[in-house]
Amino acid sequence: MPIIQSGKLHHHIKKQNLRIQELSAADKTAAGSFFFLKRSVINLSLSHILEVEEDRTMRTVEKIWEMIGQSGKNIEEIRVRAGRPVLIRREGKEEQMEFEADPAMIRELLAMISHHSLYAFEDEMRQGFLTITGGHRIGIAGKAVLEEKEIRSLKEISALNIRISHSCRGCADRIISGLYKQGELLNTLFVSPPGAGKTTMLREVIRLVSDGNTFGKGATVSVVDERSELASCYRGVQQIDLGMRTDVMDGCPKALGMLMMIRSMSPEVMAVDEIGTMEDLEALRDVMKCGCKILATVHGADVEDLKKKRVLREMAEEKMFERYVVLKRIPSPGTVDGIYDGEMQRLKGDWA
């Protein structure tokens, strides 16, 4: 058994979630003497034990960080829960890692992924997630701090859900023909449950529309990227290729951003992720009045699901969208279940 797991002191330190820097000199001496008397055979200083512990935490954090960077290895999701083993979902299957997470590790991981700038993600954290360089989304669970019935921040973060962003060149090739009619792009809504690849599909369609393809010439696309997930802008530069005629409004609320882009960038196509509020609907109406085409995504199991939500039902009744692309997770994310027209009639064709 490793020395680090053998002493009561270690458990005390772990329980209290202490780190070397947080201990006073007196604490170190007192705890060190206690440890020495009780376990005189193992003559190790407290600081050494803590350093080993810190090293272990950092090694685990580094390992998770490496996994986040390995989007090519088909990792879809990493689940980090305090006191539980780290779980990884790869190609729809769950794998259990040999290491356990703890609050200190989660804290270090959060500091690392936020570039030691958690304050810069305060607004996003209030919504329970943050998006980092590369477009990866980190879902957060912890204790909410309330202020006048509103969430001020999250503390004691106990779980992270790291969703690895993928760019998948060519994944939209098989559906792109269904999104055009006589060389003109049709207003399209991508519908799928979470994790089924609608954002990835939207990115690829944006790129094809922007660069031009067999079915239509290149068009100016404006992307309102509220959560920095579509283009993953870092210091103003798109991390993900969305095509040569694409302009991105980063970190801006969708409704506000769409109107700004209409005024400033004269787009032919407007693209937004995860619509669903009344403000979104109003903004989309304004966008359409300007003759702009729309590409958007929404959460939902199928087209029937849209009719159950008030805002989306209104959109469907107005025939705002001329195409609905439904995606599913099985057998793998990004599988096209079907393409529907504005009347929600299934189009014939092999899209899968």
């Binding site: 820097q21 960080w65 936020s114 570039h115 030691h116 700038s117 958690l118 304050y119 810069a120 305060e122």
Partner: protein
Amino acid sequence: MRYAGIVLMAGAVTGAGWYGAGIIRMKLEVLLLFRRMISHLKDRILYGNDPLPEALLHVGTWFEHQQIGRLKEPGKLLVRIAERMDKEHTAIFREIWEEEVKAMIKKTPMAEGDLRNLLEIGENLGYADRVMQERMIAFYLERVEASIDAMRTETETKTKLYRSLGAAAGLFLIVVLI
């Protein structure tokens, strides 16, 4: 030959006095520079909502280009920290800050208390929310302000003293050796 030697020695002693005075003045200038830099950093963090590497790079580059000679070092410090944060993703921020501040101090004069304040701000920068950042930076600036006030009165008298002592020691040498 003898007189030339005496003049050179006297010159060297006088120069040492002037150098000492220069160091004291430089300490004050460095502190004034840090005050301006950290104020800018505060603006970038609170109003620009910039992540730390971006804020550090922006402020560091700005001040590096504005200054000359040894006063370029504080700006370079922030640039180096930002670059290391970008390259060493898994490194701990306070360690990068500490290492770089200690490397800078070899090239830039700074009083021990001011160095301690500077190291302390690195322990808390980027940690917790915006309110905490604001309070922590305000606390640092408060201490820098107090240090500047103390140093201003000290610098005036000490600069004069060092220069006069240097010149007096030079004259004394001339008198003794001739």
